[in-house]
Symmetry: C2
Subunit: 167 residues, 2 copies
């Protein structure tokens, strides 16, 4: 097939997965199950996992759609790296989810709604974008560092452990 057609087919796949993530978000919002967010993880046409926001349903503040989709994809594939997979999110991921996407080694991200759309509905993550780059002592979260020397010991134990699995 000429490259142009392959590109069109590929775009159709991305649009289809992203529409699925948007559908999950709307259904979740309408059903009252949780916040208006959905995510899909796929490799090519194949959907590996789906996630919705389950913060209030599962009493878990980390249960954002992307995090739920990542956990489920790893469970299904029995691995902790999602290299080779792409995540489709109904909205721009918050810094927690973006970090999780990097830790999961996902290949790429497609999203639809913006962080401003989310803020307009009461889901404002601008505080996180402000806080993360700040030095520890400048953050709103009261933070104290203690036991600095003892803090090195677990890392020394790790480096001496011959069976360690780096990730």
């Amino acid at each position: 097939m000429p490259a142009r057609y392959l590109l069109v087919v590929s775009n159709q796949i991305h649009l289809s997965h992203l529409r699925r993530a948007l559908k999950l978000a709307s259904t979740n919002a309408r059903s009252g199950a949780g916040g208006p967010f959905g995510a899909v993880i796929a490799t090519g046409v194949e959907i590996i996992s789906e996630g919705t926001n389950r913060v209030t349903a599962e009493m878990d503040p980390t249960a954002h759609a992307e995090v739920c989709a990542i956990r489920e994809a790893c469970r299904r594939l029995s691995r902790f790296s999602l290299q080779g997979c792409t995540i489709y999110s109904s909205c721009e991921p918050c810094p927690m989810c973006l970090s999780a996407i990097y830790w999961a080694r996902l290949d790429a991200l497609y999203f639809a709604g913006s962080r401003e759309d989310a803020a307009g509905a009461g889901f404002d993550d601008s505080l996180l974008y402000e806080q993360i780059p700040l030095a520890v002592g400048e953050r709103k979260l009261p933070t104290v560092r203690l036991l600095q020397d003892e803090g090195k010991q677990a890392f020394q134990a790790w480096l001496k452990q011959p069976d360690r699995i780096p990730y």
Copy 2:
């Protein structure tokens, strides 16, 4: 009791919880169960939950010690906010965990090891600190925004939902 004594007692409590987090980190590293990280969530003297790094053990790239401790504390308290609680982490939390700490509304953070200590043992989160503040198009993670208008619909559905639980 005079304020000076209360302060000494309070410091002892913080040191005790932080040492417990460090113990969890070392034990986890030595046992081969996962990375050298531990966390404790407490309110005053009472420990609500403990967490260790379970990324490789549970095949879950989001299972950092802090995230595990947050999930467990919420489960035990049956709520999605940890206001009134403090988290003690063996090491400075990565941006994913720091974000989770903000989303969980924890009151304060105590930690021992630094992000440089972690990097020296192969756990380098400097990429995340670099990437999060960047604009979407400037990040290493290939990112595409599509369906901008459809991206607003889930939020409209959410705002029309009378039973929604804001968080």
